[in-house]
Each structure stands twice: as C-alpha cells, then as structure tokens.
Symmetry: C2
C-alpha cells in the first residue's frame, strides 16, 4: 500500500497524512509534483482519470482516489482511534460536519484560489470578479463555524474526528491563499490552536 502524495500547501494529500498520523500508520509516500504537473501525466491518469492527488494504491494495484474515501478505507483497516465515529449517529454526524466544512468553507476557498489568486492565473482562465466574491463567502463560513464551535471543543462534537482534519487543512490552505480567519472569531481560533498543537498536524 502506498500513497501518491503532493507536498504542502496542497490540502487534500495532507488530510490523508494527518489521518494516518493520528492512527499511527506509516504510509509509504510517492511524491507527485503539482508544480511539474506530474498529476496530469498520462501515466498518472491511468491511475486516476481525474488527474488529482492523493491516491492510495493497494498491493494488488487497486486504486482509491479522493482523500476522504482513502481515510474511510484506513479507518476500516485501523479502527483505533475511531475518527469517523463510534456508532451510527456519530458516524452520520461526523460525515455531516465533514461535508459541511467541504461545501461551506472549502468551496469558497477553492473558488477564490482557482479564480482570484495570482498563482493560478498563470495556469487557467479565471473569472476574477466571481473569484473575489468568495472572500465574503469564506468570511461568512468562518463566522458560521465560529458560532458552531461556541459550545464544543471539536467540529463534530467533543471528540477529535475526520471533520477536524478537513477543517484544519482547509483553514491552513485558506490562509496560504490569503483568506485569514476573522480576528474576532475566538472559538474558531481557539479550536485552530488546539488542533494545530497535535503532533499529527505536522504530517
């Protein structure tokens, strides 16, 4: 089993690295350089027709793409500590929070990066006004998460979960792209310090 990985600041491979680190699983990494566009090569596209990283390649050649799907697979192989919940309701709620973070926060952050950031302007056609409009959307998403975190320690409840990993990677990538958490988002900032202090955050 090996993980086709791309280095920071790519948020999606980092989601799997942190997940594996929390499980204490040492995944062999194969580096795929986004800068060199190795993820768009014919060879890599034979493994993932969408040309995205990460992918997990199993010993028999089977490939699992999508960071969250890879994490789910690792959860079944290494159930402890559970990061997708301990029972049906927890699993549904962690899945819900993970998806909310993706759609509500990662969506605008990705749109901003794709359509308004100078770096991507070199590679793709941008719709800059649309891209810039995502600043407000991301700010609203930060404030929504801040309110939600008022009553609890982690994104989906009182236990660290896969939803926190997605949120951490999204918040850090947003900052890299130029979208910072609002100064007065105290609950969100405290949560960010809390999850960033875990050893896995360095993975």
């Amino acid at each position: 089993m090996k993980l086709y990985n791309s280095a920071m600041p790519a948020p999606n491979p980092r989601r799997v690295r942190i997940f594996a680190a929390e499980k204490g699983v040492d995944l062999p990494l194969v580096e795929v350089s986004l800068m060199k566009r190795e993820h768009k090569s014919d060879e890599y596209r034979q493994k993932n027709s969408l040309g995205q990283t990460p992918i997990l390649e199993l010993d028999d050649g089977e490939v699992i793409a999508e960071s969250v799907s890879i994490c789910r697979y690792l959860e079944e192989l290494y159930p402890e500590p559970p990061l997708f919940g301990r029972n049906a309701l927890e699993r549904a709620q962690i899945d819900m929070w993970l998806r909310r973070v993706e759609f509500v926060l990662m969506g605008p952050v990705g749109n901003f990066w794709r359509h308004a950031h100078p770096f991507t302007a070199k590679v793709v056609t941008q719709f800059k006004d649309f891209g810039e409009s995502n600043r407000d959307q991301a700010a609203a998403a930060f404030r929504w998460l801040d309110r939600e975190l008022a009553g609890r320690e982690f994104i989906a409840g009182n236990d660290f979960s896969a939803a926190d990993i997605t949120a951490l990677c999204t918040v850090d990538f947003a900052a890299f792209a130029g979208l910072e958490m609002p100064e007065d988002a105290g609950h969100l900032r405290a949560w960010h310090l809390r999850v960033s202090a875990r050893p896995s955050a360095a993975a």
Copy 2:
C-alpha cells in the same frame, strides 16, 4: 423519524427519497417549500443552521443534515440491500465515485444553476460569465462519466449503489437547468435509462 423534504426539482431531498425507496423504507415526509423560502425561516434554521433541505429528525429531536449523511445513517439502520458497499474496498470505491460525481458533475451544474439560470437571477447576485463557463465543464464531466461507464453497468461497478442515486439526481437536475447529456454519450445515456427504469426513480 421524519424527513424534512422539498419537492422536485430539488436534487438533494430526492437522493434520500430514492435511497429509502431502494431499502423499502417508508419515511414520513414534512414538506419544506423552497419557493416560499421556508428553509430560510428562523424555525427551520434552528434545526439546520445552514437552512438547507433535507434533514432527518429522529424521535429524540436529534437532526442529521446532508443527504449523503442521512443515507449513511439509513444504511446502518437498514443494511439490506447494501448501497454503500459490502466490504472495505467496495465502501471506499463507492464513496469515491459518489464524491467524484458531486465534485466533477454536480459542482458545475450547481454553479450554472446558481450563476447563469434566469430563475436564480431573481434571488441572488449572479456572475453570469462564470456561470455560463460551467456549460463546458458540465459537458466535459458528462463525457468523462460516459468513458468511465464504457466497461460497467453502474457508476461504481456492477452493482447499483448510492453513487448511482447521486448521479441520477444530478443528471436529471442538470437537464431541468438546461444542461443535457451529449447526444453521443451512449454509455451514459444507456446507464440513465437503466437507473430511471427502477421503481425508486419515481420517489
């Protein structure tokens, strides 16, 4: 247990209705009218702070939002027939395909609806050039799915799964929004006929 539901053409509540129909589960429905903006009322937002349908409300008042998270919960309550896979690898691959359909196809379809369709122009600020650009993205996504379906009967393999439900609801909503499958996408069109013929498609 009851489902706060919105009628056609809303694709997300339909995902849960089809899923429940495939399981033979009769979910009591509470209608939330999107036309009357009932999903944005304070009362509804107390159940789902994002103001979106569907949600599943359990008898003890717990709420699960996000159509896929609701389906996962139903899968645990009613395991047969399995729609998220029978083992770790199948579960990872169905999750992967479901996510791919969401990001690659539903993403552009949603952007087109949100930013280019005359209906939504009445409700929100649109970035029309960006919205229109999603026509090509959706067409490319249809063609990608068509190629992927060349060698198999269903989206994630040879069994009908949650990924097919998401794809069906997305393709039908795309058509409603004005984005049709390409005429020559034969595999995709054959798949669409196949899944539309299932009794659950009418749910």
